[in-house]
């Protein structure tokens, strides 16, 4: 039957301790105030119950100071909660610069993870212990939510942008991964595991799985396939801004605004190029919406990120050795999934983990996700 009956979740990341501390602080403060109120109510309820001698309540003057007091007093503990909560929130919102990046794609009803080295897995995520991992997530259909309770991190995964969260696991083990935003029929089946490994075992796992080629390397060929390089090159007079070393840097737009060229900027500039025009360039780029799918977006962005990046940072675009670029899942097998009304059947591009669980999980997700949209009533 049930051999465990936990009352408190495992704490397995660098932020989980601070979230728990905050939780205990709130329990202590709110518990103390609630207890005081309840004790007072019970005390009054007994002491002032209606008796033969207590038929008419005694009159007394109300003190305005008491009213003002209990309006002001709660503000102090509340401001501590607010500031402390904001501090923890900011920590979770800002990934460290040296974080290992993993791309996550949510889809009814499965998770796909794409590692920078070219490994990908479904409903399983392998990460090294004691290393910050930044998850860059987008959805192919409805809103999902990437949630790992043991790490106390959660982010909605939206269909029109990248959401990011990060964690640094502190304990080796396997932890639940849940979809926390209701997403349709198999919402409660959109679950998986995060496996935290020793660095050596992680390296072994990376080497052991099927490697589809690093996203940056595939992105390079896509960059040529879509002829991005005809405009985006380093020659003077090029029609598009050069992208070498562009990632992560601020850029001036027409109209004077300055934005940072992050993943969401690149995503928007590929799918909706007219939204932000770089100063000094014409709005001539056509949209690639409907042509470039989520997997290809990740590959193109990985390639652009690798351009001019310092060696060793966030996964360089070293060409992969095996498996062939054209066979990469998602690159050619999933045309136009973001905009087309008919999603392709799920193709399990699973890199089985050393334990073989990856493949088993990959077989599980239903392929009927596409059918829902097609079968939608008028």
């Amino acid at each position: 039957m049930i051999d465990d009956f936990p009352l408190f979740p495992e704490s397995a990341s660098t932020v989980s301790g601070s979230v728990d501390a905050l939780y205990f602080f709130l329990i202590a403060v709110c518990g103390a105030v609630s207890l005081a109120v309840v004790v007072l109510i019970i005390f009054f309820a007994i002491k002032y119950r209606r008796t033969a001698s207590n038929q008419i309540p005694e009159h007394y003057e109300e003190h305005k100071a008491l009213e003002i007091g209990w309006i002001i007093a709660p503000l102090f503990p509340m401001m501590i909660m607010f500031l402390w909560g904001a501090k923890v929130y900011f920590t979770i919102a800002r990934p460290p610069d040296n974080a290992l990046e993993v791309y996550a794609t949510g889809r009814q009803w499965m998770w796909k993870f794409q590692h920078v080295g070219g490994q990908s897995e479904i409903n399983e995520l392998h990460v090294p212990v004691n290393r910050a991992v930044k998850v860059i997530a987008a959805s192919e259909d409805v809103i999902h939510d990437f949630y790992v309770p043991a790490f106390r991190v959660k982010t909605d995964v939206l269909p029109n942008r990248y959401s990011t969260t990060w964690f640094q696991a502190t304990k080796i083990g396997r932890y639940h991964l849940f979809c926390a935003e209701y997403c349709g029929t198999q919402h409660s089946g959109m679950i998986g595991w995060v496996t935290v490994m020793e660095p050596a075992a992680y390296q072994q796992w990376l080497a052991g799985g099927v490697n589809e080629g690093s996203p940056a390397a595939i992105g390079k060929s896509l960059f040529e396939k879509y002829a991005c390089n005809t405009c985006h090159n380093a020659q003077s007079g090029a029609r598009g801004p050069a992208l070498d070393g562009a990632f992560g840097k601020p850029v001036s737009l027409r109209g004077g605004a300055v934005v940072r060229r992050d993943e969401n900027y690149l995503r928007e500039s590929i799918l909706n190029p007219q939204a932000k025009i770089v100063e000094g360039y014409e709005p001539i780029m056509p949209t690639f919406k409907g042509q470039v799918n989520e997997a290809e977006l990740i590959q193109l962005i990985s390639y652009i990120k690798s351009l001019g990046a310092p060696v060793g940072a966030g996964g360089p675009a070293t060409p992969d050795k095996g498996s062939g670029v054209s066979a990469a899942p998602g690159a050619s097998a999933q045309p136009g999934s973001a905009a087309s009304p008919s999603l392709p059947a799920v193709q399990p591009g699973v890199a089985p983990g050393p334990d073989g669980r990856g493949a088993a999980a990959g077989a599980e997700p239903s392929a009927s996700g596409s059918a829902v949209r097609e079968a939608k009533q008028p």
């Binding site: 009054f44 002032y48 119950r49 109300e62 909560g85 959401s163």
Partner: protein, 546 residues
């Protein structure tokens, strides 16, 4: 406060003419413009919807006894929680206290003959019934599976259930609530009895006033938002679905701009009832009357400024999240003020423990936990972990069920003698109050633990380690169901066998206790003139029932 000039009608031995025996027949009810009869119509309809919503909840709790999704299909389960939410929120909680108790009691409390616009009042009931008919049609046709929140793009481009029909139902019912709010505001402004100044009003009236403002200002926004969902779904105009050029977060902003204030539509009236009941059963004026009155308005105002605390993990900017977090803490202050003042009212009171008081005290305890856990959710770093888990489910049920439904039951018991002229069975009613309180806590307290453990809400199947807490929750739900079933019987029993209630069985202040029970159609034979402050206890007003 020198002398009481009040015209209490003579009490004849024969049955007095009242709103119930004035006319007979279905037509006299269906075309009535009497606020009291319309209140009864609402009472019957919202009770039906409460039973329907409760039925869905029972099925869900049955499914969740085991970790595997083995009783229903996932689609059926998803429809169950969607319909449970929609029926309970739009067709029970929002109309419950305002449309039933507010309709019946508010004009009498004001010393008025009726609401300002009796025909609009009847129209609002018909609109509610049309909305209800649509929602029942949806149930019969196979349901809807979007969650009561209708999140896009799932609701607009992916769900293949009866989303548009359900939206029409909620849309139409929304107009019922707008009309009720409008009617109440005008009535409170224009129809108070001579001498009944703003600061002599019962706090229930202040609460209804604040609620009406939210209904009037907030409901059009949800009507527009749901219309946009229907437009996108039917005409494929890109509003929310990014695949056709929309923005899904826009929906969430619009939806919560109404739906967070809607929480206050549900809880403020219950707070008003609690103030009435506590004043009556302690024989005291509510401590800090003006603070409690203004706290209702403060909640109504601040309630419009906190919507994005539902979106801390949705991808809003960290700075806007900070602002919404700060404002969410501030909205807790007026709620806390009410709890402190109710507690203060008990001090040196003359407290008796009839059923309404048990429900009111239960309300304070459960609302306290619901409100305090709200602070956990306003705390941004903590919300990331508990958002969309059972912690949220527990929190809002403590507010909605522990708060609003307890308040509604307190009010129904409190005014039952006035509405029907009969006393309910006190012993059974106390048993029901205790069962509901115990069953409620057993149902929902384990869900706080489940939520912090990380069990997401809206899960048809769940991981086995969550089972024991879920079984506790389901066991509690069965006690809760029994507690809710009992009143159906003893209230029905009381109609025939209940002891006749006098004008003022509780010895309460307030104009409604100075007319006969049940009141005559015109409420008062002569317009009362108010010369006393709110909640002024006078032994001579009591029938000596207490």
């Amino acid at each position: 406060m020198t002398t009481t000039v009040i015209d209490v009608p003579e009490i004849p031995v024969v049955e007095k003419p009242n709103y119930l025996n004035q006319e007979y027949g279905a037509v006299s009810w269906l075309l009535t413009q009497d606020h009291k009869r319309i209140g009864i119509l609402y009472l019957l309809s919202v009770t039906g919807m409460f039973l329907l919503g409760g039925f869905f909840a029972v099925l869900m709790r049955l499914e969740l006894v085991t970790p595997a999704g083995d009783l229903f299909s996932s689609d059926t389960y998803n429809k169950l929680f969607t319909l449970h939410g929609l029926v309970m929120i739009f067709f029970f909680l929002i109309p419950s206290i305002p449309a039933v108790l507010g309709n019946f009691i508010l004009p009498i409390m004001l010393g008025a003959r009726d609401l300002a616009f009796p025909k609009l009042n009847l129209l609002s009931w018909y609109l509610y019934m049309i909305g209800t008919a649509f929602s029942l049609l949806v149930v019969l046709l196979g349901g809807v599976d979007t969650g009561w929140t209708f999140y896009t793009p799932f609701s607009t481009s992916f769900s293949n259930t009866h989303v548009v029909l359900m939206i029409i139902g909620a849309f139409v019912a929304g107009f019922s609530s707008i009309l009720t709010g409008f009617n109440f505001i005008v009535t409170i402004h224009r129809m108070r009895a001579p001498g009944l100044t703003w600061f002599r009003l019962p706090l229930f009236v202040w609460a209804m006033y604040a609620t009406s403002i939210i209904m009037l200002l907030g409901t059009p926004v949800i009507a527009i938002t749901l219309s946009l969902v229907a437009i996108e779904r039917l005409l494929h105009v890109g509003i929310f679905d990014p695949a056709i050029g929309g923005d899904p977060l826009l929906f969430q902003h619009l939806f919560w701009f109404y739906s967070h204030p809607a929480v206050y539509i549900m809880i403020l009236p219950a707070m008003g009832v609690t103030s009435e009941v506590i004043a009556a059963f302690t024989r005291r004026r509510i401590f800090g009357y003006k603070f409690v009155a203004f706290s209702s308005l403060a909640i109504a105002f601040l309630g419009f400024l906190v919507w994005a605390h539902h979106m801390f993990v949705a991808g809003i900017s960290v700075y806007s999240a900070m602002i919404f977090s700060l404002l969410s803490f501030l909205v807790a202050i007026p709620s806390a003020v009410k709890v402190f003042n109710w507690t203060g009212t008990l001090y040196k009171g003359s407290i008796s423990y009839q059923t309404p008081m048990l429900f009111a005290l239960g309300f304070i305890g459960l609302f306290l936990i619901g409100g305090m856990t709200g602070l956990f959710l306003a705390t941004m770093g903590l919300d990331i972990h508990v958002h969309d888990t059972y912690f949220i489910v527990a929190h809002f049920h403590y507010i909605m069920v522990g708060g609003s439904v307890m308040g509604y039951f307190a009010g129904i018991h409190y005014w039952w003698p006035k509405i029907t002229g009969r006393m309910y069975a006190e012993w059974w009613a106390r048993a029901s109050a205790v069962l509901i309180f115990a069953g409620f806590n057993l149902t929902f307290f384990p869900q706080f633990i489940l939520g912090y453990l990380g069990m997401p809400r809206r899960y048809h199947a769940y991981s086995p380690e969550f089972q024991i807490l879920n079984v506790m929750s389901s066991a509690g739900a069965s006690i809760l169901a029994l507690g809710y079933a009992l009143p159906m019987f003893y209230f029905a029993w009381s109609l025939k066998f209940g002891k006749e209630a006098g004008n003022n069985p509780w010895g309460a202040a307030g104009l409604e206790w100075q007319t006969s029970s049940p009141p005559p159609t015109e409420n008062f034979h002569t317009t009362p003139v108010v010369t006393w402050e709110a909640y002024e206890y006078r032994p001579e007003w009591s029938d000596g029932n207490v």
